[in-house]
C-alpha cells in the first residue's frame, strides 16, 4: 500500500479558469451564477430556467487548433484544459515508463451534451444527418480519451458515470489504484458541459431548480443551479513525490462509497452516513479529526437537510461546529464535474488556510443545524477534511483529505 498525494490541480469553472482565479473567488464569496440569456441557447426563449452557472470567457481557439476543436466538443475541451494546468503544476515528466503506468480516470454524468443535442436537432427538426464526429465527440469516455491522447498516457483509462458523484467516484477509484500499486500515477477528476436547452428543460421538469439563487442550508432555499466545468488532478505515490521534491497539495487518505438502494432521487441519511464513515475509517482517521467539510450542498430542500443529518450522525455534536462549505452557492452544480470542482475548492482552502463561504445565506434552517460558513470566508487551519458527493440513483462518494 502506498500513500497517495495530489501534486497538481487544474480547474475551469464558473468562478475561475485556474486554481488561482478560483481561490480569489472563493475567498471573496464571488458568484459565477448568471442570467440564462448569457448562454445564447438556440432555444433560449423556451427555457424557463432563469439562472445558470456557465463557464464564461472560454474561447476554444485560444487553446486548441481547428483540427482539435473538430474532434473535441466542450466537455473534452474543459477536461484537457484543466489537465494542462494540473500536469503543468505537478511538473511530472511523463517518460515512456511512467506514461505506461499512469491511469486516466475521468467522471462525467452525461458526456457530450451539446453534440447530442445538435445531432438530434439535425435528425428530428431539420431532416438532416448527424455530423460524422457525433459519436466520438459525445461518448462519455471522450474526456478521458482526449487527456490520454494529449499527454500520451497509456495506463488504464476510462470514464466513470454516476451522476453527481461521477467525479468523486473517479478520484476515489484513481486513489485506490495508486494506493494499491496497480498504477504509479493517475490523472483524474470530472467534467460536465451540459448547459444546453434540452438538458436545462429536462432538469426544469424535475422541479428542483432555484429561480432566484443557490442558497444551500439556508431557510428559503429553492433548489439547485445547473453549472459547467472541470477539475483535474495528478495523483502519485507519496514516496515518488517526495523523492522528486514535488510540491504536495494534500494527501488523499480515504475513499468511502455506498448506495442507498432506496429511492431514485430522494436522498437518505443512512447511505450518506455510511459513505462518510467509510471514508474516515479508510483514512485511518476518527470523526473528531475532521475539521472541515466541502458539502454536496446543492440548495435543494431534500439534499441539504439529509446531508446535515448525516454530518451530525457521524460527527455527533461536533457536527454543529465543524465548518461546512457549500461552494455550489458560487459555482453551481456541475453534475459529473461537481465533485472535482469542489475538490479543487477544498485544495485551495487547505493550502490557503481558510474555509470558503456558503453565499446567499439568509437565515438558519432548523432542519440544517450545522455551521455552513454563511456568506463570508473564514480563516481556518485544515488538517483533515471531507468532500461529499451524493448522486441521483442513491450513489454516494466521499473523499477524506489530509494535510501533508
Amino acid at each position: 500500500m502506498h500513500r497517495v498525494v495530489i501534486t497538481g490541480a487544474g480547474v475551469i469553472c464558473p468562478i475561475g479558469a485556474s486554481m488561482v482565479e478560483m481561490d480569489a473567488a472563493l475567498r471573496a464569496g464571488r458568484s459565477g451564477i448568471k442570467d440564462v440569456a448569457t448562454l445564447n441557447l438556440v432555444d433560449n426563449d423556451r427555457v424557463n430556467q432563469k439562472i445558470i452557472a456557465p463557464v464564461t470567457g472560454f474561447v476554444p481557439e485560444d487553446h486548441f487548433d481547428a483540427r482539435e476543436i473538430g474532434m473535441m466538443e466542450t466537455v473534452s475541451q474543459y477536461a484537457v484544459f484543466a489537465a494542462r494546468e494540473a500536469i503543468g503544476r505537478a511538473g511530472l515528466d511523463f517518460n515512456e515508463e511512467l506514461a505506461d503506468e499512469t491511469a486516466v480516470i475521468v467522471g462525467t454524468g452525461i458526456g457530450g451534451q451539446s453534440t447530442q443535442e445538435e445531432g438530434y436537432r439535425r435528425v428530428y427538426l431539420e431532416n438532416k444527418r448527424p455530423h460524422p464526429f457525433t459519436v466520438p465527440r459525445m461518448m462519455p469516455n471522450a474526456p478521458a480519451s482526449q487527456i490520454s491522447m494529449a499527454f500520451g498516457l497509456k495506463g488504464p483509462s476510462y470514464a466513470i458515470s454516476s451522476a453527481c458523484a461521477s467525479a468523486t467516484h473517479a478520484v476515489g477509484n484513481a486513489f485506490q489504484m495508486v494506493r494499491s500499486g496497480v498504477v504509479r500515477a493517475a490523472v483524474t477528476g470530472g467534467v460536465e458541459a451540459c448547459l444546453q436547452a434540452g438538458a436545462l428543460r429536462a432538469w426544469e421538469a424535475l422541479r428542483v431548480m432555484a429561480s432566484d439563487a443557490c442558497r444551500p442550508f439556508s431557510l428559503g432555499r429553492k433548489g439547485m443551479v445547473l453549472g459547467d466545468g472541470a477539475g483535474i488532478f495528478v495523483l502519485e505515490r507519496y514516496e515518488d513525490a517526495a523523492a522528486r521534491g514535488a510540491h504536495i497539495l494534500c494527501e488523499i487518505a480515504g475513499n468511502g462509497m455506498s448506495a442507498d438502494a432506496g429511492d431514485l432521487t430522494a436522498p437518505e441519511v443512512e447511505g450518506m452516513s455510511k459513505a462518510i464513515r467509510r471514508a474516515i475509517a479508510d483514512a485511518g482517521l476518527n470523526p473528531e479529526d475532521i475539521d472541515h467539510i466541502n458539502a454536496h450542498g446543492t440548495g435543494t430542500l431534500a439534499n441539504d437537510r439529509t446531508e446535515a443529518a448525516a454530518i451530525l450522525d457521524v460527527l455527533g455534536d461536533r457536527g454543529r461546529k465543524v465548518p461546512v462549505s457549500a461552494t455550489k452557492s458560487m459555482h453551481g452544480h456541475a453534475l459529473g464535474g461537481a465533485g472535482a470542482i469542489e475538490l479543487a475548492a477544498l485544495i485551495n482552502a487547505m493550502n490557503g488556510n481558510y474555509v470558503p463561504p456558503t453565499i446567499n445565506f439568509v437565515e438558519p434552517d432548523p432542519d440544517c443545524p450545522i455551521d455552513c460558513v454563511p456568506n463570508e470566508a473564514r480563516d481556518c487551519r485544515i488538517d483533515a477534511a471531507l468532500s461529499n458527493s451524493f448522486a441521483f440513483g442513491g450513489l454516494n462518494g466521499v473523499l477524506a483529505l489530509r494535510r501533508v
Binding site: R67, G70, M71, R129, H131, P132, F133, P136
Partner: protein, 82 residues
C-alpha cells in the same frame, strides 16, 4: 472544372499540412488526411454536391489514394445524378 476546384477546396479544409499546391496528383496521405478526416470529407462532399457517396471505411471498393481519385469519383456521381 468546377467540380475539381470545389473538391480541392474542401480537401484543403481538411488538411493538417498546409500545402500550397494541391492538385490531382497530390496523395491524401501527404495532406495528413487520416481515417476520421476521410469520413468528414465524404460527409462534406455529399452535402456540397447533393450526392450519396457509397463509401464504407470497412470496404476497399472505394479507396482514395490521390486527390484525383476523389475528383473522378465525385464527377462520376454528379454526372450520374444528371
Amino acid at each position: 472544372m468546377s467540380v475539381e476546384s470545389d473538391v480541392i477546396e474542401i480537401i484543403r479544409g481538411k488538411s493538417s499540412e498546409g500545402l500550397e499546391i494541391i492538385d490531382r496528383g497530390t496523395q491524401l496521405s501527404e495532406l495528413g488526411i487520416e481515417s476520421l478526416d476521410m469520413v468528414e470529407l465524404i460527409f462534406e462532399l455529399e452535402d456540397k454536391f447533393g450526392i450519396e457517396i457509397p463509401y464504407n471505411a470497412n470496404s476497399s471498393e472505394m479507396e482514395f489514394q490521390t486527390v484525383g481519385d476523389v475528383v473522378d469519383a465525385i464527377a462520376k456521381l454528379v454526372a450520374e445524378q444528371g
